[in-house]
């Protein structure tokens, strides 16, 4: 995976908006808000779809946990979920 480390200086409106996004709890950190903003730009310019990004992220997260579920385990978990809902 490509990694970029950037130092971005913000002041005025951009800094205010960033602080407000975190203060209101939309994002846990400023870095997270900036990442989401870049994804939104990519989407606006037709570079990718947010859903595809999350699809890949979810794959990676599942892989990271190392957990694999069999078909019957998935069915059991779903049944439990439906009963509890």
């Amino acid at each position: 995976m490509v990694q970029e480390k950037l130092l971005v200086r913000l002041s005025g409106t951009t800094a205010d908006i960033l602080n407000e996004l975190v203060r209101r709890g939309y994002f846990a950190t400023k870095s997270e808000a900036i990442r989401a903003g870049i994804l939104r730009l990519g989407e606006n310019f037709g570079l990718f779809k947010q859903s595809m990004h999350y699809w890949r992220e979810l794959s990676e997260e599942i892989k990271r946990t190392g957990k694999q579920m069999t078909h019957s385990e998935i069915m059991e978990a779903l049944t439990r979920l439906e009963q509890e809902t």
Binding site: S51, Y54, I62, H71, I74, A77, L81, E82
Partner: protein
């Protein structure tokens, strides 16, 4: 179920999700489905997976039907279908949707005309489906 099996197994549900990502049809999702997807992945793969799965389902959906919007439809459908399926069907009726894509025999038993399995839905797009229904 589509979101869950589609992510975890090679199956028709995955083809449904791919078609949706390609913009072949518009996805309308109930609040209940979004909550169930998040909860499933959170309980089985951790908090982060829960969050990402929720964002995936939200981003794929053109519209998310809120519970408050469908009270009338829910009341009208009570007793005609199992409680667990009520919200999804109410959302379909409220939005006047053509298909309710799911793999749940209860919809079939209740003769819900909008109900279609992932396998049958995939066929509408002239894709060769997997043998399994879901």
């Amino acid at each position: 179920m589509i979101f869950i099996f589609g992510r975890l197994e090679e199956c028709n549900s995955r083809l449904v999700l791919f078609l949706a990502q390609l913009g072949e049809f518009e996805v309308v999702t109930s609040e209940l489905v979004i909550e169930e997807v998040e909860r499933f992945f959170r309980e089985n793969f951790g908090r982060q997976a829960g969050y990402i799965s929720r964002r995936f389902a939200e981003e794929l959906s053109t519209r998310i039907v809120k519970r408050d919007e469908i009270k009338r439809e829910i009341d009208a459908l009570k007793g005609k279908i199992k409680a667990k399926d009520l919200e999804n069907l109410a959302a379909v009726r409220h939005e006047n949707l053509e298909y309710l894509v799911a793999y749940d025999e209860d919809y079939k038993d209740a003769k819900i005309e909008e109900y279609i399995t992932p396998k049958e839905f995939v066929k509408l797009f002239r894709l060769g489906p997997y043998d399994k229904e879901y």
